[in-house]
Symmetry: C2
Subunit: 238 residues, 2 copies
Amino acid sequence: MSLRATPQYRQLYEKLRKHIVDGVYREGDLLPSENELCHLYNLTRPTVRKALDLLTNEGFIKRHQGLGSIVHKLPKGIGILSISGTTTAIGRKDLETRTIIRPHIVPWPEDFPFSISEHEKEVGWMYFTRLRLLSGIPVIYDITYLPNINLPRFTSRNLDNKSLFDILRTSYRIEVRSGEQYIKAINAPEKDICDILGLEPDVPVLHLQRRLDTNRLNFYIYSILYCNTDEHSLYGIF
Amino acid sequence: MSLRATPQYRQLYEKLRKHIVDGVYREGDLLPSENELCHLYNLTRPTVRKALDLLTNEGFIKRHQGLGSIVHKLPKGIGILSISGTTTAIGRKDLETRTIIRPHIVPWPEDFPFSISEHEKEVGWMYFTRLRLLSGIPVIYDITYLPNINLPRFTSRNLDNKSLFDILRTSYRIEVRSGEQYIKAINAPEKDICDILGLEPDVPVLHLQRRLDTNRLNFYIYSILYCNTDEHSLYGIF
DNA sequence: CAGTGGTCTAGACCACAGT
DNA sequence: CTGTGGTCTAGACCACTGA
């Protein structure tokens, strides 16, 4: 079973992204032109462009015909509306994750906006919850459902301060590729969740229900998030 | 001054998208393969793939290696988190727009998360507000700021039930291409906005602050949205 | 004007799904 | 196995920007 190599456009994307996040290229700077990047990294233009497409879609650069690719200001909020996992609060070194409820098996929850397959219903669900803190302040409470299939030793893993996506990718070769979500504002949720988030009663919170698609056919990850947006807005790009 | 033709991949994207929305291709159906599409529309594969990329990014299809492109279920919420304007509530024929405050000139509002340029500060802002209703029920209150520049006769235009984006594109050649937004949950906003949205006091609402990028350099559109998500969640893809 | 990004072609080879 | 989508090459011409 051979692992497919990381595509070249993806590698270039990650290099450039790192340079931007690390400040090698700063806000307002022009990136090297596409032709320059071709020579620098020994790639052809379509490949370079595909890397730049990714950077554009994620909001790291803006391209202008006749001018070049300009590095965009890094976002100030929490980048939760896009892919790459909740843990990606760009530029935040003070993001902490604590496991509140360790993985165990549960039945499918009612009143969820996504319909599930028979197969998913049969195997049951791995359930766990985590709390995200920014500078020590609880910000997001994160409830996750994974299909209970083919994930040896998962229940004994430590999810604190680790990206779930990284664990899935490196240990189980599951890559999260895209997803969809429903967002609404609610008044403070159940008492226990309020307590965990340190909320007064009747504080408005964001409520997200999401389904994540993976590279495995019919393997979806579902999650529910409660976000205290009093101090930190969620940030998204489109 | 010649208009640039709509690119072929964009034309194909719109055709396929229409077929999906109209039900020619239904949920779960396989789209014609990329090679078939090449022959059907007399295009090469990279062009066809670029159209499919758009459909994928907007969530209309999922592609599976070795299998094909599968039509995705159409979303049930309001498609406001992605581009194409608020008016694009896919599949909703009962979306109505009413202008509440007609366009006029105002100074820049304080406490906005985006910084503006000197030029923007000088020319001032076109300001107007609109209400979006779904089946007659107010759902979104939409406050818009446009730079007050180069838009002849804009103040006298009727914005009811029309896409602002369409007007900008057809009358002024301004195309909205991307954007960013900050989202938070708040308790009911100012009394007048509550009245417009028909809200009880202390109802939680979604509060969005967005900046939209256009094809004109340094021409941005800013807007603030208040959404009653009691009945309709916002929907997003990533 | 030269250089930039935007579009497009006509191929090639690969990994994966279903038969 | 065949056909699918995923990646990549090596060119071409265009529209736009700034000097």
